[in-house]
Subunit: 351 residues, 2 copies
């Protein structure tokens, strides 16, 4: 018989969440504001800053259809690359060894990712994860995990990072996430945090402490159920928001995402695709698009949060179309806008 708990723990084993960092510099993303909302702040008036925290890593990936060896991965990599299409600089906090490809770092820099907070440890190796996906691409086994530089990672925020307006804490130990928060000079406008069942199992007290300090939590449906002890996602959302985050995003992978705030609820579909090559990094890419959109727009209304969920979902839909970060390279505002329009068309109806 099936064992949903086991499947779930395989699905999102901790080191399926990695962080890589890649600075991408693009012209500012032009928001396709076809429904102008008077009174919203103009992007031109503000200096936007987004700090992204997480792993930067190498992955070996096996899917039922193909495989990739020692490709660039990591939560911070996906977050920063996705966010770079909306806001710059994206300032990353992570650690690598001296084995990491310089060309990838150059690419990230060129995309507007600030690498000052990326520690490079001479003579050490970058974090490595190997995983294999099941037939349906919804679950995966971890084949190998080599912490390397991540084993004793102590995040240090450069001075220029400490007044971050937007902070995306990618999946890492809750202690490291808290260490980053402690180094800020002032409370950001928005703190979002991604976590997973691994930390609920092994560091729940620390997780609950850091949850008190964040505005947005992003987790998947099974994790929401685990964290809340409630099966109904509606009930789970209420319990979790009493733990601290005013906003909750429940990611359901190929089944879309739910956003909760107060009495409001929003559902964003996932876009059916001709072919999914590799789901790795989709959740991180979602987080990057979500946080990047918010940082770019500076609008924390629920209507704009909904847009952020759609932009995050759109970026994730690109991510899974190729291995590693390949499909996230060289996107244009027009291509992203077209993808977002597909989401709008997909769910539009009139009663």
């Amino acid at each position: 018989m099936s064992n949903p708990k086991k499947i779930q723990s395989l699905r999102r084993n901790f080191f399926s969440y990695r962080i890589y960092l890649f600075p991408l510099k693009m012209a500012g993303y032009a928001r396709p504001d076809r429904h102008p909302r008077p009174g919203r702040p103009s992007n031109q008036d503000r200096t936007m800053s987004l700090v992204a925290v997480g792993t930067v890593a190498f992955d070996d990936i096996v899917t039922p259809f193909s495989r990739a060896e020692r490709v660039v991965g990591g939560a911070c990599t996906y977050i920063s690359l996705a966010a770079s299409y909306f806001v710059k600089p994206v300032r990353i906090v992570s650690v690598i060894g001296d084995d990491f490809p310089e060309e990838t770092l150059d690419y990230l820099r060129a995309q507007g990712v600030d690498l000052e907070g990326l520690q490079i440890k001479a003579g050490e190796k970058s974090f490595f994860w190997a995983g294999k996906y099941d037939r349906d691409l919804n679950s995966r086994d971890t084949l190998d995990t080599q912490l390397n530089v991540l084993a004793d990672f102590d995040p240090v925020l450069p001075e220029g990072y400490r007044d971050a307006e937007y902070l995306m804490l990618g999946n890492l130990t809750p202690q490291v996430q808290m260490r980053v928060l402690e180094q800020l000079k002032s409370r950001p406008k928005l703190v979002a945090l991604d976590t997973m069942n691994f930390w609920m199992d092994t560091a729940l007290d620390d997780l609950l402490k850091v949850l008190k300090k964040v505005d947005v939590l992003t987790i998947n449906d099974e994790e929401a159920r685990q964290l809340s002890g409630e099966h109904s996602l509606l009930k789970a959302a209420q319990v979790i928001r009493n733990m601290g985050p005013k906003y909750l995003v429940i990611k359901k992978g190929e089944h879309g995402a739910l956003l909760f705030h107060g009495d409001d609820m929003f559902f964003a579909p996932a876009l059916p695709l001709i072919e999914v090559i590799d789901p790795t990094g989709a959740g991180d890419t979602f987080a990057g698009g979500f946080a990047g959109w918010l940082a770019q727009s500076g609008d924390l209304s629920f209507d704009n949060m909904k847009r952020a969920v759609i932009y995050g979902s759109a970026m994730a839909s690109f991510c899974v179309e190729k291995f590693s970060i390949e499909r996230l390279k060289g996107l244009t505002p027009a291509v992203i806008r077209d993808r977002v329009q597909k989401f709008a068309d997909l769910v539009h109806f009139q009663i």
Copy 2:
């Protein structure tokens, strides 16, 4: 490890699809046409008729939270009751023994369900199914199946049924579904068919024959993959529509439903609920709401098909809130409209 095929086959074992029949008579359902579409036919100008085929049965149901014994169930029961809120008469084709509660039959009659095509076998027992749901309510085991009157069911369409404009062939053997089609005097405006993996495994040739004769097929995601041999639902939809049905609805349970036609695609979410009591009959209720809406509106445009999927989803969202058909009793146009509005609010965003 998980075995998706096994879970799937447990999830929709054939006799989880039953047919009951209950005539409900209500004032004509007033379509909340807040976006009037000039040129659409007025309901008042047409005589609408919907024929629903399927099982009428007793169920024993065990969920992780509760249980129900010998309650009214069956695909045709759910289909006809859901459809009765949109169109009447709903003419049913099914079979029961003389053990079936007269009050349920009276209730269906009162709701506008025409029972002329319901065979009542003296001295025989109605079809019985017993099932137990897993913790997540997404999979179930069949505990008992007693075919009884269904063992040698030969559907006979009364004369008044043979010019049906809309036909909903609920899940049954493809041979029985074909027998119904053969008795029609003329081609209905729309024939919709529900089936499942059981028939793909045991009667594929017959299923393929009947598929050539239908306009709409409703199946779930795993069945779409099985029938097409394609993992991508986009590819699966293309393959299946080459088998006959111009329209394909892929039901994803708590994850919503997809509608495909030509190059068009539409996604309807499922409504997150505070509590799901019993998923039994949700797929049939969806089919009833879907077909009922189409029969009522007489509009087969893609835009109206989208509405039909939403109305079907809304009716299914009621169904799961109580055991058996209890939550489907006593609904009003206003209550249904409010539920549909919740679907609209859930996915609405502006880019």
